[in-house]
């Protein structure tokens, strides 16, 4: 979707630089270093900025890449081109290994865990005999094509920047895809993504590996640029430095990584070469000034320099409407009215001593709208979470079309055709409405990460977006399709959640307070939509506090109070049920 022109211009510019007469060779060295750092930072952008996984350990992966090629080319005489895939594979394998442990860490434990193994691996690099201990490995052969040996910084320059550009393109392609949307949803917590079939640990591991492979690539290039490796550049300080390159540039943006690398590398160089002229004699002044400038930069542009720069350019609308004639396969519909779709039997959920849901039983039949009502704290949302697999019941059973799903994770429940919205809206605010809704169709696409990077997913992707656009149209938000979800009103965001749930092509739609925050007219539209859906063969189970809305809409109502079902029946009988009136209004003294 992104325009390719700026990238082409950038590539042409970078290709031309060495030919500009009078460019000092030293600049080329700097550009080489920027490219190397940019590769690692780009991985961190995906990992930290987009995926929300902060890693201090990237320097270790650079080390894996560099040491792999160093050992294989010096001790075994392999050609550097042969060791390229091997370096990437070694980095990737270690990423799988470390990732399996690390991505399970939650919250602040994750960055600290990466710091721990980052430090550990650094010590390992400097202690192992076959890696040359602290002296490292030298006399690594240069890259060569035929008789052309890339001995000078100027000749390897192209290799580095081709790698940077290709990696940037692949990374951007990845982000703009089915897998990319799953990755971008990671940072907003896992509950929403999992409700639509995203396997979040796998998605986290994927970005982890992607970042590690990019770091490994940087390491491989580094080894052949320096033609020697020592442990120092792979230590904890380097790991921290990569992270702040990403943050300074703008941690959510691929080009932010490149810009950050340029800023940090050039800043350090300038400070090192010019500060001694101004303040002679003092050794560590550049570190001091560098630290201070880092803090100042963050205070001026806390989101990073790239988004700050971009804010000066007028926003171009890339809002092309997807071709809605493309169709995804749809689910074969359940049988007609009267067959049981969802059966909840004596479901019970205890949190310690609190019984949130107390032996509740009810069922939802095909083609009906059932409302779950009750005062605050009655256990309605907990019941939703039990049905959708976010929580597992303490006892009792829940079955879908006669099949028990008690312990099934959310990803399995959604496959059965049950999709939901959330009481507290869980959209990704910095993704467009279209992209958010397309997450709902996650399970209906097949393209994996590799296909996405290579843009082999376009046919699949077009269908997914078409489906998303269709559902957006259905709920009446066509005009907002290309706006960021976070910019919509809360009521509209709830409607976006419904569109996202519809993208699953569900048999049963679970709506948690869909009408909250809607105006009168919007509520009527929503009611009409839900009736249409029912008539089209879908069932709806909804939690709602707006009694007028519920009474006019629902075929049946289930009333909960303090976790216990106190009544069930048609709206007319519920209205007059003394238990229900007592629960809502209390008893007259």
């Amino acid at each position: 979707m992104q325009s390719r022109l700026p990238i082409l211009v950038f590539a042409a510019l970078m290709a031309a630089i060495p030919f500009v007469p009078g460019v000092p060779p030293f600049w080329i060295v700097l550009l080489d270093n920027i490219g190397l750092a940019a590769l690692v930072a780009m991985g961190l952008v995906l990992l930290t900025g987009v995926g929300g996984l902060t890693s201090f350990g990237q320097a270790a992966f650079v080390g894996f890449g560099a040491y792999t090629t160093a050992v294989l080319t010096t001790s075994y005489g392999l050609s550097p081109w042969l060791t390229l895939p091997l370096s990437l594979v070694v980095s990737g394998l270690f990423a799988v290994l470390l990732g399996l442990i690390t991505v399970r860490l939650s919250g602040h434990y994750l960055p600290l865990g990466t710091l721990a193994w980052g430090l550990g691996l650094f010590y390992l690099f400097s202690k192992l005999e076959f890696l040359g201990r602290n002296d490292g490995i030298s006399a690594i052969p240069p890259l060569s094509i035929g008789a052309f040996r890339m001995l000078s910084p100027g000749s390897i320059y192209y290799a580095i920047w081709v790698a940077v550009l290709i990696s940037a393109l692949l990374t951007m392609n990845l982000l703009d895809s089915r897998t990319g949307r799953a990755i971008r949803a990671l940072r907003r917590g896992h509950v929403a993504a999992e409700a639509f079939g995203v396997h979040t640990p796998r998605a986290k591991l994927l970005v982890f590996i992607h970042a590690a492979v990019l770091a490994g690539l940087s390491g491989w290039l580094y080894a052949h640029l320096q033609r020697a490796v020592t442990p120092t550049p792979f230590g904890a300080h380097a790991g921290i430095e990569y992270l702040f390159i990403a943050v300074v540039g703008g941690a959510g943006y691929v080009w932010g990584g490149v810009l950050g690398a340029a800023i940090v590398v050039i800043l350090k160089e300038v400070l090192q070469s010019y500060l001694p002229l101004i303040l002679p004699g003092s050794g560590q002044v550049e570190t001091i000034v560098f630290g201070i400038m880092l803090v100042a930069l963050l205070q001026l542009a806390p989101g990073g320099v790239w988004p700050w720069l971009m804010s000066f350019f007028p926003e171009r609308s890339n809002g092309r409407k997807p071709d809605t004639s493309l169709k995804l396969e749809t689910r074969t519909r359940s049988p007609g009215r009267g067959s049981v779709l969802l059966q909840v039997e004596k479901a019970r959920k205890q949190f310690g001593g609190v019984v949130a849901v107390n032996n509740v039983s009810f069922e939802v039949q095909a083609r009906e709208i059932v409302a779950l009502i009750g005062p605050n704290g009655a256990g309605k949302s907990t019941t939703f979470n039990l049905i959708t697999g976010v929580l597992s019941a303490t006892s009792g059973s829940i079955s879908v079309l006669g099949k028990k799903v008690n312990r099934a994770p959310p990803q399995e429940i959604v496959k059965l055709g049950i999709s939901r919205t959330f009481q507290h809206v869980k959209l990704v605010p910095d993704m467009t409405v279209l992209e958010n809704v397309a997450i709902g169709a996650h399970l209906r696409g097949q393209s994996g990460p590799l296909a996405s990077m290579l843009r082999l997913d376009r046919a699949d992707e077009a269908k997914l977006l078409a489906e998303a656009a269709r559902q957006i149209e259905r709920v009446g938000l066509t005009e907002q399709m290309h706006q960021l979800a976070g910019s919509l009103s809360l009521g509209q965001q709830r409607i976006v959640e419904i569109a996202r749930a519809l993208c699953v092509d569900p048999m049963l739609l679970l709506l948690d307070e869909p009408a909250a925050g809607l105006r009168h007219m919007e509520k009527q539209q929503l009611a009409k939509l839900l009736r249409d859906l029912r008539d089209g063969g879908m069932s709806v189970l909804l939690v709602e506090h707006d009694m007028g809305f519920v009474m006019n809409l629902a075929d049946r109502i289930v009333v909960l109070d303090f976790g216990t079902k106190i009544a069930e029946g048609t709206p007319a009988t519920i209205k007059t049920n003394p238990e229900v009136i007592k629960a809502y209004l209390g008893v007259a003294a």
Binding site: H108, L112, A116, W117, Q284, T287, G291, V295, Q299
Partner: protein
Amino acid sequence: MNTTIMLFLLQDGITNGAIYALLGLALVLVFAVTRVILIPQGEFVTYGALTYASLASGQMPGTAKLALAMGIGACAFDLFVARKTLHGRLILRSVLANIVLPAIVLALTIYFAAQKPPVAVCIALSLVIVAMIGLYLYRIAFQPLAHTSVLVLLIASVGVHLALQGLGLLFFGAEGQRGPAVLSGAFTAGSLRFTGQSLTVYGITIAFIVGLWLFFGLTLYGKALRATAVNRLGARLAGIRTTLSGQIAFLLASVIGALSGIMIVPITTLYYDSGFLIGLKGFVAAIVGGLVSYPLTAVAALFVGIVEAFSSFYASNYKEVIVFMLLIPVLLLRSLAAPAVEEEKD
């Protein structure tokens, strides 16, 4: 290994562990209140230690000047932020707290440094100097970033660490220093020898843990700090000045750091860059304590100290590796034990 060596290692471990406990407490405190992972905590340690050691040997520590310079910076920040609503009292208060105070301390330091002051004066001056640095540091570096993400704060924290460590080299040189014992004398019990210094370490650590516990449990400021830690917005709505909470947290952290430094510099030689590693170990303890629990952090710190002592005996080469790798199983256990259903906050 015999019992004597084991007891000795244990004692050594507990002494170091006590220091890590203090640092861990400070880190937990600062993180809880301000969300800053305070990497420069180690610099507070070295600044405290080396300021104390310099003063004791009759040298003028550069940190006193730094405090004044940072105070001027903090004052400038104060006045710039309030430029639209400036009035005399505000200016006076800011100038007094940020410029006059460090200027007086600087004058005192110059006066005393020339005549090898007694230990108590050295301690007092070092504590005040580092406390001011901590306070102004919050004002200059972190208060303007208070609304940003943990990641941005962390990177700023790295920047501060770099700057302070560089300044440390400028002030104290590359050579290590040792300071005079706070409490001299020693006694033996069985085969163990207790020095006055190690007893001081235990005493002060316990006093601080109890003190913090009382502070947070009983005082209004303590409760305000806890409220800020739980919910920043809620605390503000309840009338708590969150910047004040941040200042108190940094003040406490810098005092704790400086005190730790003063306590260990008679036992081990400290260099300008020693703080980082010491701070990191306090950090390991803080993480094991989950960045929330004070007693757990203290226990974890003792554990880290003991593991370090034993691994330096058995595999001194891998001492650091063992201490840091220790984290991974702990982190895994904690993650598995409490798979937090994380609500996102950015």
